[in-house]
């Protein structure tokens, strides 16, 4: 297409400006983050996945003996794992499914033609994950505290940092799945992995309660690393360096793979 003279804008609507400009980058990302977060919270299935199922799991872990002997009380061991489960629910399964269907319906393509662009769209998705995760943390912490959770005060800073890191790793993995397979397959894969990793991935049930052969593998999974790191943070106020490194590696690897193979069409 040959260049056309620039400068004049159509008189579309009243008071048209001389030339359109995008809103500021920060505003675009904040708007997209807010839009996606509200869409996620208005979606009943997503809400069940993000809040209801983690809370059910939390209550279940406090009335069963799975976590006995791993900490001062069942609830103290359970809450960090449930927070990790929340990160996986929102960042991996929820965001993965939403992105997969957005891709199917051409939403990603349309938004990438607006000033938001592809980078802004991804940033908005990450922001929406963090926003929903904040709400999840508030709800789970409130319920946990009401059930007697007594987190180490020194654990909040590393805990929240690790939650953000875990959300980044799971967002990258969710986008990788959503951007490379059909949305129906994304739905199946992310839901199946949520169940498998949730039950056997070291996220709510610590690796030491799993068969010895599985323990090392589980420790290398993002679910196992995040669950372990959050328990260390909230039980002992410590930052688990090895688990953090594993999460960083998952984030970088999955992020690079998503950038390389994500299909927008």
């Amino acid at each position: 297409m040959n260049p056309t003279p620039a400068g004049t804008a159509p008189a579309a609507g009243a008071g048209a400006p001389a030339r359109q400009q995008p809103a500021s980058l920060l505003r675009r990302i904040l708007l997209q983050g807010k839009y996606e977060a509200l869409a996620m919270l208005r979606n009943g299935e997503q809400l069940i996945l993000a809040v209801v199922l983690p809370l059910l799991a939390l209550v279940g872990l406090t009335v069963t003996p799975f976590l006995d002997g791993l900490g001062p009380s069942r609830i103290d061991v359970a809450v960090p794992g449930i927070l990790a489960l929340c990160a996986m629910s929102t960042a991996f399964t929820g965001q993965g499914i939403a992105t997969g269907f957005d891709r199917r319906y051409g939403v990603l393509r349309f938004l990438s033609t607006t000033p938001l662009g592809r980078g802004g769209l991804i940033a908005g998705k990450v922001l929406s994950v963090l926003a929903v995760l904040c709400l999840q943390v508030a709800v789970v912490a409130a319920v946990g505290l009401s059930l007697g959770w007594q987190p180490t005060a020194a654990g909040w800073v590393p805990g929240l940092f690790l939650l953000a890191l875990g959300a980044a790793a799971f967002t990258a993995l969710g986008l990788l799945v959503a951007g490379t397979v059909r949305p129906e397959a994304t739905l199946a894969i992310t839901n199946l992995l949520w169940i498998l990793l949730g039950a056997l991935g070291g996220i709510v049930i610590p690796a030491e309660r799993l068969p010895a052969a599985a323990q090392q593998i589980v420790g290398l999974l993002p679910s196992g690393a995040l669950g372990e790191a959050l328990r260390d943070a909230f039980l002992h106020g410590a930052l688990n360096g090895a688990a953090s490194l594993i999460l960083v590696l998952w984030t970088v690897t999955a992020g690079a793979a998503a950038i390389r193979w994500f299909k927008w069409n």
């Binding site: 297409m1 040959n2 260049p3 056309t4 003279p5 620039a6 004049t8 804008a9 159509p10 008189a11 579309a12 609507g13 009243a14 048209a16 400006p17 030339r19 359109q20 400009q21 995008p22 809103a23 980058l25 505003r27 675009r28 708007l31 997209q32 839009y35 869409a39 208005r42 979606n43 269907f101 957005d102 319906y105 051409g106 939403v107 393509r109 349309f110 938004l111 990438s112 033609t113 607006t114 000033p115 938001l116 662009g117 802004g120 927008w264 069409n265």
Partner: protein
């Protein structure tokens, strides 16, 4: 590598509707998506408002509106919040309330996208493309699924935007749309542009015109089946019984030809049940150029 489009060269001006016309799979959408920066091209060059859309940033995207063939709107969204959200991405958006009223979106403002009719979705997608007051507007099959009223509304708006100086590039496989809307037409076939010109210029194309004639027209009439019309009209006018009792005479028809036919009808006591005279249409041009084979 699959080569979908090769040898397409086109330009579009402000204040003009430029139509890319072609059969399904001709390469219209691919061409448009390369121009929008949605698809990577393996060669050639594209300049949109002086920039390469493949590498341009938010500044260029803010000056370009895109209506995709499949809409690209989230199924769970409601029209008004969606338009307000998109408007927020621009520094000087079109007032959303004006746009809603102009495109009749207020009649379905509380319905989610997934429950909208095809025409309603198209109007919403058009509003989403316009909300940033673009200087260049890409419309991929804009009249698909539109009922006659919506079609009229959309066509009027496109005309107004063109008159206001917007450069509009649309794809369509509907010849009537192109004939009605386009100032300049590119006919795309097999991933190449095979003809271009204003509608009038294209209508002047064809074998009869090349032979020096002025206007090709088709006379259609219905009468009793099986009439032997051979020799009634000169050989350069082709007379066919397209189906039983439905006849066409195509060529450089003159008043003399009409008189000759009427004389023959009178002599053989034939009274046509219906008759019409049509100028050569863009569809005739298109079929002449791209052939009649199904792709």
């Amino acid at each position: 590598m699959l080569r979908v489009v090769s040898g397409v060269s086109l330009s579009a001006e402000r204040g003009q509707v430029t139509a890319l016309l072609g059969a399904n799979g001709a390469g219209k959408t691919t061409t448009l998506e390369c121009a929008q920066g949605l698809q990577k091209r393996s060669g050639g060059s594209i300049s949109l408002l002086g920039q390469d859309p493949a590498t341009a940033g938010a500044e260029l995207r803010s000056r370009v509106g895109v209506m995709l063939q499949d809409g690209g709107l989230p199924p769970s969204a409601r029209p008004v919040p969606l338009l307000r959200h998109i408007a927020g991405l621009y520094a000087h958006p079109w007032p959303v309330d004006d746009l809603i009223q102009r495109l009749g979106i207020d009649t379905f403002s509380r319905t989610t996208v997934r429950r909208l009719s095809g025409g309603q979705k198209q109007r919403l997608a058009l509003a989403a493309a316009l909300v940033g007051r673009p200087e260049v507007l890409f419309l991929d099959e804009p009249s698909a699924g539109l009922d006659p009223q919506s079609r009229q509304l959309v066509f009027e708006l496109i005309g107004e935007l063109r008159d206001a100086g917007m450069g509009i590039i649309l794809t369509t496989h509907l010849m009537d749309d192109a004939q009605r809307l386009a100032d300049y037409v590119y006919i795309i076939d097999g991933g190449r542009n095979v003809a271009e010109g204003t509608v009038q210029e294209l209508l002047q194309r064809g074998p009869a015109v090349d032979a020096g004639a002025d206007h090709v027209r088709t006379l259609t009439f219905d009468a009793k089946p099986g009439l032997d019309l051979s020799g009634v009209l000169p050989a350069d006018v082709v007379v066919l019984e397209e189906r039983a009792g439905s006849y066409t005479a195509t060529g450089t028809l003159t008043p003399r030809h009409l008189a000759m036919l009427a004389e023959w009808w009178a002599a053989h006591d034939v009274m046509p049940a219906a008759m019409s005279l049509q100028a050569r249409s863009l569809e005739d041009v298109f079929l002449d150029i791209s052939g009649k084979d199904i792709r």
